[in-house]
Amino acid sequence: MSERFMLSRRELLKTSAVGAALSLASASFPISRAFAATATVGFIYVGPKDDYGYNQAHAEGAATLKGIAGISVVEEENVPETVDVQKTMESMINLDGASLIFPTSFGYFDPHMLAMCAKFPDVQFRHCGGMWNKDKHPMNAGSYFGYIGMGQYLNGVVAGHTSKTKKLGFVAAKPIPQVLLNINSFLLGARSVDPTITCQVIFTGEWSLAVKEAEAANALVDQGADVITCHVDSPKVVVETAAGRGAFVCGYHANQSPLAPEKYLTGAEWNWAKVYKMFVDDLVAGTPLPNFTRGGLADGFVKMSPLGPAVGDAARKQFDGTLAEMMKGGFSVIKGPLKSNKGVVVATEGQAFVETALELESMDYLVEGVVGSTA
């Protein structure tokens, strides 16, 4: 409800005399926008900035830019993935003079960000996710993402050692490639410990639905899952509910160990500060921004939470060994022979997809051992 309120405030500003004067000024002095040393960078979040999860990870990254001379940061939170985000982008460009915008949520890309790319060819847009394609999409757009599936693989390694029931649980939002890769990586990490482990997935259908996420965590524990992880915007509810029922948890997006210090094993976290700093350095230097930015554990885009007190020695050893291997580069989570849970071969004997493989960004299957369906 508040987003409407916020937007109407922006709308009001836009139509008011002050707003008109401002946009007139920025239109008649385009030089001030091209002059990179005083650039404005816009960040748009789908939820609140302090959600113990996805949006908080981005906002923490954005916050590190605020100390850089000549860079001002504008932010708006709770912006729905509707035409509202177009209005937000327009007002960031027209009113605040933003020359670089980061719409951080998956659903902002098509058609909203693409429409703005066409309308404002001088403004740079970088979308968090894997949707930008150089053959289909404009060059003032681009995408950035981290190979956090590796982190979920490491979560899985620890979960595999810790689980007694050999059943893991995964609370997922929507069946998009990034989520599916996380689920598959979590299970394959666990299966590297014990190939009989299975993982039950529950899709809630939305990025943030507190009650449904709690119900999903309860249902997973009811079915015997004893290590739970998730891919929703705010893992707080899942972590607290699962730990409250006595299950172990692996974190996601940010470090949730303060919520369940005894039950938290480890977690896959973002380190967006590094990524945003790279973009802004290019902006200040006046060099063209990259359109396609990716990085993993070795690049510092992704990091792991410190291992919790419940993690045993065997798990610790395999975790450290696998992490060291990943840091060397060339580690493959998806490697043959591997079938999907519908029996389709997704990787043949000897075939391996390293973390940078583009095929992984269009993943549409769950691997054998995951109980769940993508539709």
């Binding site: 508040s2 609140p48 959600d51 997935v201 507190a210 119900e215 249902a219 369906s373 539709a375």
Partner: protein, 308 residues
């Protein structure tokens, strides 16, 4: 490991557990709204009151360490919101629905503003009573650990149903809701009655919010409610302004909402979006089955602006 393998029994158990866990905010908001609407006003602002109650309860519980004080504060905040609505609506030409929408936005906005520092800390939860001690199965014990607020809600539904029929206060509320003229002829001031009815409704919605943030799901986030307050207001009409009906409708919504996750957890994974629509489909079916052209809106207070 047999104790943890309950298989398909998980589905009815999840529906039962879900009905108990999820329904409580619906019960309180819809009972509160039933009182308000029986007096002839509609307060659509209860969604905002619910969110503000959730925030207040959590904040007070974090600061004092006592969830009960949080609950009390949420009820107090809800009372203030309700009284404010009731007070504004007594003026001539003021539309209660429009004020309700304004208060809904105001309540959530204010809750987001004051709630920012309380998203990170953890608050103590309201205690639950274990009714599952007779069973060795941990899943049954978990489903039957019932929060005291659910029991209070159930008792309140029965009490209100009885009180509307059998007490002087209940009669006064109903008279004011059915005919302002008759009420004035009896020497009652409709505005005062409605002010109190809206205040009580707001306080109950605040308690519903406290349940959300202090018990289930048990944390304060800005997306905690996801429209439950609005749905509860609609439940009142669905329940034909009958408190027992409100209770049943809330249980139905809670249980049906648990169906989607429960079915996925036992391996029924196709079409989960359809299962998530179950509460609404059920509502539609019941509405169609119980509707009749000759007695439409039976039980509706005649002073309501939607039925007048």
């Amino acid at each position: 490991m047999d104790a943890t393998e309950i298989g398909l029994w998980g589905v009815p158990l999840a529906i039962l557990g879900g009905a108990i866990r999820v329904s409580t905010p619906f019960i309180f908001v819809s009972l509160g709204e039933a009182i308000t609407e029986r007096s002839g006003r509609i307060n659509l602002g209860l969604e905002g009151t619910l969110v503000f109650g959730a925030m207040t309860a959590y904040a007070v519980a974090v600061m004092t360490g006592s969830p009960w004080l949080g609950l009390l504060a949420a009820a107090g905040a809800g009372l203030c919101f309700g009284l404010f609505h009731g007070w504004i609506c007594k003026f001539r030409g003021v539309n209660d629905i429009a004020i309700g929408i304004a208060l809904m936005l105001f309540g959530s906005g204010l809750a987001f503003f004051f709630g920012k520092p309380f998203i990170q800390p953890s608050a103590p939860d309201l205690p639950a009573i274990a009714f599952g001690g007779w069973s060795d199965i941990p899943q049954v014990q978990a489903a039957l650990s019932v929060n005291i607020l659910f029991l209070i809600g159930a008792a309140l539904a029965v009490f209100l149903w009885w009180a509307f029929r059998n007490t002087r206060a209940g009669l006064i509320v109903r008279v004011v809701g059915d005919s302002s003229d008759a009420a004035r002829a009896m020497g009652l001031n409709p505005n005062t009655v409605r002010l109190l009815a809206t205040g009580v409704g707001g306080a109950l919605a605040g308690i519903g919010g406290a349940y959300l943030s202090l018990y289930y799901p048990g944390s304060w986030t800005e997306r905690i409610s996801s429209g439950q307050g609005l749905m509860a207001v609609a439940l009142v009409i669905f329940a034909r302004w009958n408190p027992l009906g409100c209770f049943a409708a809330a249980l139905l919504f809670g249980g049906a909402g648990a169906l989607g996750p429960a079915l996925q957890s036992v391996g029924v994974t196709q079409g989960y979006y359809l299962f998530y629509a179950a509460p609404y489909i059920l509502t539609l079916i019941i509405m169609i089955a119980t509707s009749s052209p000759s007695r439409s809106l039976a039980g509706a207070p005649r002073e309501l602006s939607i039925t007048k």
